[in-house]
C-alpha cells in the first residue's frame, strides 16, 4: 500500500532523512520509534505532503500504485491518508464541526459521492464522539483553541474516526495522555484496524504498544531505519535504550 524507497529529505538544505525505505501493506500496524530529533515527524509530514519547509531531494513514495509525491496535500487526504499531528494546530474562529463537515464533503466530492445531509453528518459526529468519549462542549469550540494537551490528541483521533482513513499515521498521539485517555485512543485506533487499512504509530513508549499491538517495529535513527523487528523489539528498546544501535549504523 505504501512503499518508500531511498527517501532523502532536507530542511533549508540540511539533510534530515537520509535514505529511508519502508514498506507498509494493507492490514498491517507499524510502530516507528527512535530518539528525539531523528526525523520521525519529518517523515510523517512528508507523507502528508508538507512541501513548504521539507524538500524531498531523492527517492520515491508509492501509495496505492500512485506516485504520492505528485499529489497535493488535500488529494493525499482524499486518497485516504491521515496524519495525527504531534502538535495539533490551533485555529481560532473555525469550529470543529464546520472544519470536519467541509473536509468530509470535499472528500466525498472527490470520490464522486453526494454531500452529506446535516442529519447524516450529525449522526457521524455522534458516533465519533462516543467512540472517542469527547463532548459537544469540545466539538462546538474552535479547532484546538485553548484545548489541553490531552484534548488536542483526542481531537486528532476524533477526526480520524470521522474521516475513516485507509492509512493513518499517528505521530506521538500517546504523548501527554493519562492512562484512561490512552485506552480511549487505543480503542479508536483499533476500531480502524481492518484487512484493508494500515496504521503507522510513532511513539516513544512501549506502553502504547500494549494496547495497539504492532506487527512491525522500526527504529529510526539519524534519518534512516536502522533496525526492524517484531513487537519484541520495542521491549528490547525499552530495556536498553538506543545507544547499542549506534554500532549497527
Amino acid at each position: 500500500m505504501l512503499s518508500i524507497k531511498n527517501l532523502h529529505v532536507a530542511i533549508n538544505g540540511k539533510e534530515i532523512i537520509k535514505g529511508l525505505s519502508l514498506e507498509v501493506n494493507q492490514g498491517e500496524v507499524h510502530a516507528i520509534m527512535g530518539p528525539n530529533g531523528t526525523g520521525k515527524s519529518t517523515l510523517a509530514a512528508v507523507i502528508a505532503g508538507r512541501e513548504d519547509i521539507f524538500e524531498v531531494t531523492e527517492g520515491e513514495i508509492i501509495y496505492k500504485h500512485k506516485n504520492l509525491l505528485d499529489l497535493s496535500i488535500e488529494d493525499r487526504a482524499r486518497e485516504g491518508i491521515f496524519l495525527g499531528f504531534q502538535y495539533p494546530v490551533e485555529i481560532p474562529g473555525v469550529s470543529i464541526t464546520n472544519f470536519m463537515r467541509t473536509a468530509i464533503n470535499e472528500i466525498r466530492q472527490y470520490k464522486g459521492l453526494d454531500q452529506l445531509s446535516g442529519a447524516e453528518f450529525l449522526k457521524k459526529m455522534d458516533d465519533a464522539k462516543k467512540l472517542v468519549g469527547i463532548q459537544s462542549k469540545l466539538t462546538n469550540r474552535s479547532v484546538n483553541e485553548g484545548f489541553s494537551g490531552g484534548e488536542k490528541k483526542k481531537n486528532e483521533i476524533f477526526q480520524m474516526a470521522l474521516l475513516q482513513p485507509e492509512l493513518a499515521i499517528l505521530d506521538e498521539t500517546d504523548s501527554g495522555l493519562d492512562i484512561d485517555a490512552l485506552k480511549i485512543v487505543a480503542k479508536g485506533v483499533n476500531s480502524l484496524r481492518s484487512p484493508e487499512n494500515a496504521i503507522v504509530v510513532i511513539t516513544h513508549y512501549q506502553r502504547l504498544l500494549d494496547y495497539i499491538v504492532p506487527d512491525f517495529v522500526h527504529v529510526l535513527y539519524e534519518g534512516k531505519i536502522v533496525k526492524s523487528g517484531g513487537k519484541e523489539l520495542a521491549l528490547e528498546l525499552e530495556a536498553k535504550g538506543y545507544d547499542w544501535l549506534k554500532s549497527e549504523v
Binding site: 502528508a48 496535500i73 487526504a77 491521515f82 494546530v89 485555529i91 464546520n98 473536509a103 470535499e106 453528518f121
Partner: protein, 471 residues
Amino acid sequence: MKVTTKKVSLKDKMIRLFTENQALVFQHDTPEISDRRRIAFEEFKLAGFPDTRVENWRNTDLTKVLEADYNYYFQPTFSEGTDLKKIFRCDIPHLHTDMISQLNGWFVSENGSIKTNPDGVIIGSLSAASERFPELINRHLGKYADNKKSGFVALNNAFATDGVFIYVPDNVQVKVPLQMVNIINHDKDIFIQNHNLVIVGKNSELRLVQCDDSVNQQRSLINTVTEIFIDENASLDHYKLQNKNDASTLINNMFFHLERDAKLSTNAITLNGGLIRNENYVRLNGENCEANIMGVYLVDKKQHVDNQVFVDHAFPNCYSNEMFKGIVDDSARAVFNGHILVRKDAQKTNAFQRNKNILLTDKATVNSKPFLEIYADDVKCSHGATVGQLDQTAMFYLRSRGIGIENARMLLLYAFAAEIINHIKIEQLKTRIDDMIKKRLRGELSICEQCVLHCSTMEKPVEFEIDMDKI
C-alpha cells in the same frame, strides 16, 4: 497661438463657489448656523485640503483625487417625487428597518421632508429640521464636528446644507433599526457634501445602520460628516457599511459625543471602495461611558482604506475598546491610526486598541500606528498591531484533512474577519454581512447594480456552514 490656462485647484474652486452661491448655502440657516458657516469657511481657507505633509495623512495621498474636475451642486440633482425604488431596493431577507434615503447626498422624501413617528422619533432632512427645530439645531449642529480636525470637516461645515436629521426623545427604545442609505447615482463626476445629525435622548436606545453605496461606475468624491449626540444613559448600536465603486473617494467623518453612562458600539464594515477614509472621533464626555469602536476591511486591486480613530477620555471611569481587522490583497493599502487621549482627570480609564492585518501578497501594504497620549496616572491602556500572512501551518493542517486550498484559505480568512462580524447584534444583518464577506473573499462580490445589502442571491449554505445550530 495657443493659450494655456493654469488649472484652478479644487480649493480655489470651492472658495469661488461658496462666494457665488451664498444665497443657496445660507437659505435654511438660523443666524447661529450662518455664523458657524462663515467661521468654518475661514478655517477651510486657512487649512485647505490635507496633504501628506500632515502627520495623519502621511499614508493617504489625495493628490490625484483632488485633481479631478468635479461637478458641485447646491440644489438636489433630481426632481421632487423621484422614485428611489426604481434606482434601488432593499432586500435583506427578513430585515425590517425604517429606511431613510439620500440620493447624491440629498434627503429623499417619500411623504414630506420631516415626520414624527408614533414613538416620538423625528426623522427628516437637515434643512427642514433647521427651519422646524432651530433650538435643537443650534444646540447641536457643528458642535462636535470640529473644524480644526481637517480641512474636510471645515469645508463640510461651511458648505453642507442637507443630510439626515434624526431625533430620539428621552426614554424611548426605538424598536425598529433605522437604516440610512446614501446612494450615489449621477452621470457626471460629482463632489458631494452632506451632513447628518443624530440625537439620542436620555435613557433612549437606537440601532442605526448607515450604508454607503454607489450604483454606477462614475467617479465621485464624497465628504460626509455625521454628528451623533448620545445623551446620558442612552445607547447607540451603529453600523457603517461601505460598498462603493473603485472610482469613488469617501471621506467619512464621524463625531460621536457621549454624555455620562452612555454606551456606543460602532462597527465599520468596508467591503469595497476606491479610497475610503473613515475618521471616528469619540468624545467620552461624562463618567461611566462605554465605547466599542470596531471595523473590518477587505480591500484588493488598488484600493485604499484608512481608518482613523480618536478617543477622547475626558472623564473618569470610562471604557473604550478599538478593534480593527483587515485583509489586504493585490496592491491594496490599509492604514490605521489609533489615537487614545486620556486627560488629566480621567482616572480609572480603561482603553484598549488592537489592529490586525493579513497581507495576501507582497505588494499589499499596511501602515498601522497607535498613539497613546496619557495624562492621568491610574489608567489601564493597551495597544497592539499585527501584520502577517496566512498561517501556513494552519493551511497545512486544514488541507491535510482533505480541504482544498481555496476552502482552506476561505475558512482561515473568514475566521479572521468573523471576530468582528460576530459583534453585529442585528441578527439578519449579521447573516447578510456574513454572506457578503464570504462572497467577497471568494471574489464573487461586485458592486453591481445594487448596494452592499441588495445582492439578490444568497449563497448555497452546503459548502460552507459556520454555525453548528444551523445544521
